[in-house]
């Protein structure tokens, strides 16, 4: 009898979206897509940026209405008109950008909108939160302020918010984009716990290793169309990648051995204060030659940002020197450094890299608009700027609705990044600093960007790469410098080490018998 019931449950779909079609002017975002999620499974939706994953989930969550198709929840046909309808059906969504009030406590955030009456009882709520937190291993402290907890914990608060509202179908929208490797591990454990407790999970992502790690089944969509549904355990990552992109994808960037040339960047005993006025980088020395890619490996928040900001001139240096081809640039202005030949693909493309409210034309010359060629005697030369922008757009395949006139904010993340990389590479720098250059991007874009970086190296340029993803470091770097607690732990040749050794160094443990 018990077996019979479980079989019955297994066969029933908790969510069924059949033949969903959604058209936007000029684009069919979802073309006859069917998604079937079983109760208690982790179901991944895999697709490149713009493939239609978000549209599909927005339809399920009541933000859009499908032009055609049927949605069934627990076997019953439903019409979800708003997120409130979705909530009452037990569907909760953990958004990519958290929706939390920063100076409220965890408990206050969770009961926000669910206070129940004029007077609310935080203590009672806190108890319930503790109970849920323990049950799913979320380790959340209800009385902490949101601004005092880590990003990973903020995300767990979002998850708990859904559980507090008794959601049993949880949608995770690109949940790992903002997390460190450890936090990703923790999140994976939590997702497994949730599934084990009978929650059904839909995971939207384009990261294959995450799917391999947690998902049971995976629905793959490409350009608005369903490509297939696969059983994750019996499908290889590269097969899934090929289905997603529509052609075989290589995870490994082909590159010849490096031919290091002259010293381009030389950092000597550099110390930098962080925003809290304590040393973020301590006595750091590193040399980068032309024709090589040096990767800086480390867990997020170990001094990488401070180091890069010091090199690029965005943060003052406490002590030590930075030489660029022998010239001391320790206290040079940002513009002087750029003119010397420094290119910088910043960590936060939307905050630093682009002016989202300005057209691509302005963004492409943001560093060089004052130079002869883009302006004469202080008057901008718009035709020249437009030609330059058009050239970058076509060479780097930046896709946008209105070409050079498109606002940077209207581009997808991948295209924004391509535009930045196009700008930095086109200005032909001697030293290219790339910080998290592929963060949040899909496989196709990652491949493209990696190829560009290797090409720069092959042209004899120096490339300094900072990434929190060890795969990326290993894939691209000729040498790896490991940073931990603001100190350089060691510099190793990529082909003489492995991820285990580097992982230990990232935790601050130096391998035996090596010198810095």
């Amino acid at each position: 009898m018990a077996a019979f019931i479980s079989q019955e449950l297994y066969l029933s779909y908790v969510i069924e979206m059949v033949g969903i079609r959604k058209e936007f002017p000029g684009i069919v975002a979802n073309d006859d897509i069917t998604l079937q999620v079983r109760e208690g499974e982790i179901h991944a939706i895999l697709g490149e940026n713009g493939a239609g994953k978000s549209t599909l989930m927005s339809i399920l969550f009541g933000l859009y209405h499908a032009d055609r198709g049927v949605i069934k929840v627990r076997g019953k046909e439903v019409h979800i008109k708003s997120p409130n309808d979705a909530f009452s059906l037990g569907i909760g969504m953990v958004h990519q950008h958290f929706q939390l009030v920063h100076n409220f406590t965890v408990a206050e955030n969770i009961i926000l909108g669910k206070e129940g009456g004029f007077v609310y009882d935080v203590r009672k709520a806190s108890e319930k939160i503790r109970e849920i937190s323990e049950r799913y291993g979320l380790s959340i402290e209800p009385d902490m302020n949101i601004e005092d907890i880590t990003v990973g914990m903020q995300q767990r608060v979002e998850i708990l918010k859904m559980l507090y509202r008794d959601a049993d179908i949880l949608i995770f929208d690109e949940p790992t984009a903002v997390l460190t490797p450890q936090e990703i591990e923790e999140l994976m454990d939590i997702m497994r716990n949730l599934a084990a407790e009978g929650k059904s999970i839909i995971l939207i992502t384009h990261k294959l290793d995450e799917i391999k790690a947690v998902a049971d089944r995976c629905t793959i969509i490409r350009r608005g169309k369903l490509v297939g549904v696969v059983d994750v355990a019996s499908t290889t990552a590269s097969d899934m990648a090929a289905m997603m992109v529509g052609r075989p994808v290589s995870f490994h960037t082909e590159k010849a051995p490096s031919v290091p040339g002259e010293k381009i960047l030389e950092i000597r005993n550099l110390s930098v204060m962080n925003s809290r006025h304590v040393p973020g980088v301590k006595d750091f020395s590193l040399t980068v030659h032309g024709g090589e890619i040096v990767g800086i490996a480390g867990v997020d928040g170990n001094g990488q940002s401070e180091l890069i900001e010091a090199i690029t001139g965005l943060r003052p240096v406490a002590s030590g020197t930075i030489l660029f081809r022998g010239t001391d640039m320790t206290s040079m202005s940002v513009r002087k450094r750029n003119e010397l030949g420094l290119g910088h693909i910043p960590e936060d493309r939307q905050k630093r890299g682009l002016i989202l409210g300005a057209a691509l034309t302005s963004n492409m010359v943001i560093k060089e608009f004052y130079k002869e060629g883009f302006s004469h005697h202080g008057i901008l030369d718009y035709p020249a700027i437009r030609d330059y922008t058009d050239a970058i757009i076509s060479e780097f395949d930046v896709r946008s609705g209105e070409g050079a006139d498109s606002l940077a904010g209207k581009l997808s993340g991948g295209n924004q990044q391509k535009a930045i990389i196009g700008r930095e590479i086109t200005s032909d720098p001697e030293l290219l600093i790339a910080v998290q250059p592929t963060r949040g991007l899909d496989v196709g874009a990652i491949e493209f960007i990696h190829r560009q970086l290797v090409q720069e190296r092959d042209k004899g340029k120096a490339v300094l790469l900072v990434s929190f993803e060890l795969d990326e470091i290993f894939n691209l770097s000729d040498r790896i410098a490991v940073i931990s607690g603001g100190r350089l732990i060691d510099i190793v040749n990529t082909d003489e080490t492995d991820s285990h050794a580097v992982g230990l160094m990232m935790a601050g443990i130096k391998a035996e018998g090596r010198s810095v």
Binding site: G26, S333, V334, R335, R352, I355, I366, F369
Partner: protein
Amino acid sequence: MRKNLRTLEARKASPFLVSISAVFLGIIAGSVFILLIGKNPFVGFEKILFGALSSSRRIGNTLGMSTQLVLIGLSVAFAFKTGLFNIGASGQMLMGGITGSIVAYYLPMDMPRVLYLPILVITAGLAGALWGFISGFLKAKFNVHEVVSTIMLNWIAYWIVYDFIPRFIIDPTISVKSKPIPLEHTLRAEWLRSLTGFSTLNYGFFLAVIMTVVVWFILTKTTLGFSLKAVGSNRFCAEYAGIKVSSSIMISMAVAGALSGLAGATYYCGYSEIMEMGKMPNEGFDGIAVALLGNCSPVGVFFAAVFFGILKMGKGSLAATGIPTEIADTIIATVIYFTATNVILANFWNERFRKSFSRKEEAVLAAMKANGDTRSPGELSQDEFRKLSREGRKEVK
């Protein structure tokens, strides 16, 4: 194909449409108020227009009144484009005014006007620029918010004027205001006065027109405007790109201050010829509304200022009809409210455009079906789209 995508989309509400809607709603609100006190709104608005525009003298006065509003509006808008909120236009205006008045008082009367007028205008502009620069400097070096510093500098300017009038330019007969500047030392011109029946219109109006063009030119055509706008829209990106954020802030506040300083010259040495002790000019705050309604674009600011000028000049004529003159101020206030909530207006129009577009789209699809056209609607050109939507409308019916 890509080009088509751009045209085959629902229209978006332009800033111009939003501002016009705000003005329209302000007038509607004014009409309701007039109706509530049992008067005829048409008579009221006729009187306002009559008071502002019915004769060359009235038009002259309206433009004379608008002059300051244009310059202050430009000042606020310029700072705003750099991400700064210049609330200190009043103080900058006072500094420009007192400097101009002292120059007018002490420069010899036999100095040729071609020499004298530029000196007056430039010194007043410099005084305003200094006042704006102080706020910019405090912001750039010590991170003092410009709203706080400009408000405080307003009062410093107020007391400086309070001290300087009796010290340098007092009118001995009435000891609370400055000695009237002789006509030849104001910005007024004989030919303008005779043309407009001795109105307040003066050379300042041409200055305002010129500055509108200059500000437009700086913001859209020059590298200076480019870097200032970059700092205003994303200072982190500007910093990253090597644009000096702190000097941009100082330059921007100095330029904004200079524009307000010029307004001081046109107001105290043109529109009027005296300065009173203990009076903070309201124009500094009206200028914020002007900049808002003009969407911070120089041309928009110009017309918004003239619009406010009409209401301010025209309201005097309301009294005859028994409608309180405060109605005009109410309209201005309502217009400001609607401009400040421009998102609501923009959403209203966007929703309209979207609906009308999807109706058209439906019609196009129907027409294409009837014609047996198998192309996707995205491939159509704009003309085809328009033609088919007309055909399809009958089809849908």
